[in-house]
Amino acid sequence: MESLPITIDSVSKSYGTYVALDDVSLDIQAGEFLTLLGPSGSGKTTLLMALAGFVRPDSGKLLLGDRDITRLAPNKRDIGIVFQNYALFPHMNVLANVAYPLALRKMPKAEARRRALDTLARVKLEGLSERNIAALSGGQRQRVALARAIVFEPRVMLMDEPLSALDKNLRETMQYEIRRLHDDLGITTIYVTHDQREALIMSDRIAVMNSGRIQQIDTPQRIYDRPSTRFVAEFMGEANIVAPGLVRRIDGADASRATLMIRAESFHLDEKLVGRDGIALEGTLRAKAFRGENWLLTLALDGGGQEVLVCIPAALASGCGELATGQRVTAYAPAAKVHPLPETIA
């Protein structure tokens, strides 16, 4: 199966005064797994629906390979879609659901049946082909939806928060399975989620969206460690945005004049675990919480009282239990984990 690159070229969409997509441009390579990540209302689903053909952009172009699909009818796009609520057809059994796109393509019945059964085996649903949709569990429905979306060998797959209805354990299993399926098929995939962990685990690249714009597009690691905006930093995890002047270099050199982003888990309480070029933050302990795998400390920094979250792995935090609120604490972070935010903050 040949998969195709996707080009999104300055696409905008407004509903009345509400701007859902604000001049969005994005190139997705053939075979790539790209995640659109953002809070609700960020425009990620609108962008997905524009690619699917259910939302017509006010301006801009959508290309599949080098073909302009901006105004092409949804049924002519050859794009497999997995919907958030699966949108299975309850009046058909599992096999008929999966064979439906093949029947539409006028494939002979015997061949369609064979292909549908092969695809069901691929998503580990052998033996359930005659079941009614109503008799399936959430996870099984999810697999039927996947099978139905790939059975006709689409060149692109779109997934709209496909795992949000599943419980946590099943969700994690399915994350790996969807990624494995993508790797097997090599199909260009655009995946929408608001769950940053899911995006980090599954994606080749992540496009973080907010208010109809792409804030940053990069590999999961760079998005996490090197966010380009405050929004991305805070959306991706426990981020501390530290104003200039509150940070001291351990070696006494002049500290950076930029606003810094330091993740909560980058901190250590032991100076020896951080290099000489690391930084130190001094403050008073406001609160502490034991979270199983780690301790979360809240420090009020000297000089302004800005609060900083410090996350210490339980294995390295033998002393945390004895810390009392009001006590003075110094937190250290290695230079590699201190990221100057390119964006200036007012």
Binding site: Q84, N85, F89, L104
Partner: protein
């Protein structure tokens, strides 16, 4: 709801008694024509002094009545066949449009069921007269479809409101054009509501008299029109026989559809 009321003998007797009264009030006027139709007398009299089937013979022996029966059944079927698909498409657009546009269209669509029938008939008469369609079966069909669309929509709109539209989008993404998505995904899942809408549209046409009186004529006269005319010209128990048969047909259709729905 009934659980909220005190459950004692007295209240139960009262409830049953009241229900029986309502039933009698609703049913008696319809049922009183049944014995009348089996009367042997030349006059409408209740209770009949002797019984016979002569008025049924008169009815089935009359070419005029038979033509009207045929017209009414054909018209009812055609009305349902035209009004339900149109109503379904209209309801889909109302459902998809949403907002003020949907409310406006819905209002316009439902007006024929709110406007007095006589006004609609007069208006229709002038429009059809300009097209030289007065007196044709097609002209009456147009009138009945106009009346039946709101009836079909009242049944179909709530059903569509409960329908998961993502299924249609899924079908479209899988390669279905509009017609296949509606025919293969919406229609099979809405079949019960569509059946109700068809029945209601059929009965709307079967029952309709005012438009028929204005528009239909001669061989295209419908049963209700002929019944009105014959009541005006001559009163004999033929009309009671026809009413009885008419009621029987309607009850039969409703029963068949209701029982099929249950199974």
């Amino acid at each position: 709801m009934l659980e909220a009321y005190p459950d004692n003998r007295l209240s139960r007797i009262f409830l049953w008694g009241f229900s029986a009264l309502v039933m009698a009030f609703l049913m008696l006027p319809t049922l009183v024509v049944v014995p009348l139709s089996f009367s042997a007398s030349n006059l409408l009299e209740f209770p009949p002094r002797a019984y016979s089937l002569r008025w049924y013979e008169t009815f089935f022996g009359s070419a005029t009545w038979m033509a009207a029966l045929r017209t009414s059944l054909i018209l009812g079927t055609l009305t349902a066949m035209v009004a339900v698909p149109l109503g379904l498409l209209a309801c889909i657009s109302i459902n998809r449009l949403g907002g003020k546009a949907a409310v406006t269209i819905q209002g316009v669509l439902l007006t024929p069921s709110i406007v007095p029938g006589i006004l609609l008939a007069i208006g229709l008469f002038f429009v059809l007269a300009a097209q030289r369609l007065v007196g044709t079966l097609f002209g009456v069909l147009v009138g009945h479809v106009v009346l039946a669309i709101p009836v079909a929509c009242i049944v179909l709109l709530p059903a569509l409101a409960r329908f998961d539209w993502n299924q249609v989008q899924a079908a479209r993404s899988l390669g279905a054009n509009w017609a296949r998505a509606i025919g293969g995904i919406i229609v099979p899942q809405l079949h019960i509501s569509l059946l109700s809408a068809t029945l209601m549209a059929f009965l709307t046409s079967l029952d309709e008299s005012v438009i028929s009186i204005f528009i239909s004529s001669g061989r295209n006269s419908t049963m209700p029109k002929l019944m009105f005319l014959s009541l005006r010209d001559q009163i004999d128990p033929t009309i009671a026989a026809i009413s009885t048969l008419w009621t029987a047909i309607v009850v039969a259709v409703v029963l068949i559809v209701t029982l099929r729905r249950k199974s």
